[in-house]
Amino acid sequence: MLDINKLNVSIEDSKILNDLNLSVKTGEVHAIMGPNGSGKSTIAHTLAGNPNYQVESGSIKFNEKNLLDMEPTERSLDGLFLAFQYPVEIPGVTNSSYLRQILNSHLKHQGKDPIDAAAFLKLLKEKSELLKIPMEMHSRFVNTGFSGGEKKKNEVLQMKLLEPKLIIMDETDSGLDVDALKITADAVNEMKSTNRSLIIVTHYLRLLEYIEPDYVHIFQNGQIIESGDSSLASRIDKEGYE
């Protein structure tokens, strides 16, 4: 599904990723761990096409397409989803209207009719219940005044509405209390399937105790310095990155 080959990425002339190689097959769950500044978020944002990150060289193939030639919109419509570590606030736009708009963009791309208000409300209720999100939250402006936990749940809700092929979760566990972490992890686990892949970016073991990865990669200085199975995450948790 995803092939990253010798990828070099900079932000404002500072090189972050160095000749990064990573391959993710359909149905696999990969975890990326590493200390602060190791390049974990950079790879997440580069995959989603954030223009603040400059790709100096290398290639990324996503379902046989050259991802670097695609705009962020196109990447999303083709099934790539980044759950942000810091979701932005959009004052003046209600969450429900925003969610319906993003869903309709995807339906249009799939050649389907837009979802009407009544059907959307039913779908929204159903998905919100799974995440224990009160419907009242959807009449508020997107992420505006949301708690850290509400913002993260809203990211997972969008993931569930759009049903992407490749999910990248950028430190979704930060800002979540124990109960919210379990609810979020359960919702993500429900989405695991043989035709969907996940990349979980995290500092800590705790999210990986709920969502078991097939592979764990340790990042340092913009490179993968070690890869292994889920036991690697437990070892890092005990011994640290040093």
């Binding site: 223009p51 919109t73 990447r75 004052p91 003046g92 759009l162």
Partner: protein, 307 residues
């Protein structure tokens, strides 16, 4: 004909009142027309009376018209102007609000890019009067709007909310709020979007006279620049000659937040739609100041069509 509701049509600088034989006997208002000036007097009432102003251009001549409004003690008026101005125009309102009267003015107007349009309003409020002034417009070649609010007696209050969406047009908005009495309140919000090579100026003055203690006045103006060739100039001015006041003002303009646009596009929304969502959000921030649901719907519709 609903007696709490009538329409005035200004056609090529002549005014017509729907069903004029009934106008003179209308329960809550009387209207007189003389020398391109329409004088309207609104009588006391429990309910709001609504006048719809319709400006029609049937000939290729500019509209030039004056309306003198007098709200008698205890009267309540909504004046709605939803006209599309297809030619040059020069409109002037002079409003006198007597004790305990309420006035809500909604101007939701579209102008043409190649025209010159001018609107002047001088509104004087006496004791316990409330004036709410909502304006939604796009610009034109030269679009000039000036409102002077005279808060002349205690507990007079003004709420002004202006939205100007410009696409290669030029708009000058001047607002002068004059606190001429103690214990008066004013709140003003102005938001503008400038696309293409638009130029928008907002000049907001709050004047508080030396005897006007217990004054409260706030003014916020914000501009959103779309593209590299538009200009927004927001100038808030405070002239305060009394120490016992609470006054604030803030002005900010800039381009759409890149992180927000990336967030929206990363969810499958096109760049153009993301920008429109951003504009809609930016302009909708003050919607909670509009309590009248019918007018709120009209304002939302205007933004949706012009963003």
């Amino acid at each position: 004909m609903n007696k709490d509701h009538f329409t005035i049509t200004i056609r090529d600088s002549e005014a017509f009142i729907e069903n004029p034989s009934e106008v003179i006997s209308i329960s809550n208002a009387s209207a007189f027309l003389k020398d391109k000036t329409l004088a309207i007097k609104v009588s006391p009432s429990e309910k709001f009376m609504q006048i719809n102003l319709v400006v029609n251009h049937t000939k290729n001549i500019p509209v030039n018209f004056k309306i003198k409004l007098e709200l008698l003690e205890g009267s309540k008026l909504i004046l709605l102007d939803e006209s599309h101005y297809n030619n040059d125009s020069d409109l002037e309102f002079i409003t006198i609000m007597k004790k305990n009267s309420c006035f809500e003015l909604y101007k939701i107007n579209r102008y043409q890019n190649n025209n010159t349009n001018k609107f002047l309003h001088d509104c004087t409020l006496l004791e316990n009067c409330s004036f709410k002034d909502y304006s939604f417009s796009n610009g034109s070649k030269e679009n000039f709007s000036k409102t002077i609010v005279n808060l002349n007696d205690i507990n007079a209050s003004f709420l002004g909310s202006g939205i100007s969406i410009n696409d290669s047009t030029h708009t000058d908005n001047l607002l002068e709020i004059r606190h001429n009495s103690k214990s008066a309140l004013s709140n003003c919000y102005f938001k503008t979007v400038a696309k293409g090579n638009s130029k928008v100026n907002f000049d907001g003055t709050i004047f508080v006279d030396n005897h006007c203690s217990k004054t409260t006045s706030n003014q916020v103006s914000k501009g959103l620049l779309i593209g590299d060739h538009s200009k927004i100039n927001l100038v808030p001015k405070l002239e305060i000659y009394n120490d016992d006041v609470e006054c604030s003002h803030g002005a900010a303009s800039g381009q759409p937040d890149k992180n927000t646009l990336f967030y929206l596009t990363s969810r499958g929304i096109s760049k153009k739609d993301a920008e429109e969502i951003y504009i809609e959000g930016f302009l909708s921030e003050f919607f909670d100041t509009i309590e009248n649901l019918s007018m709120l719907s009209k304002a939302k519709n205007f933004i949706s069509l012009n963003k």
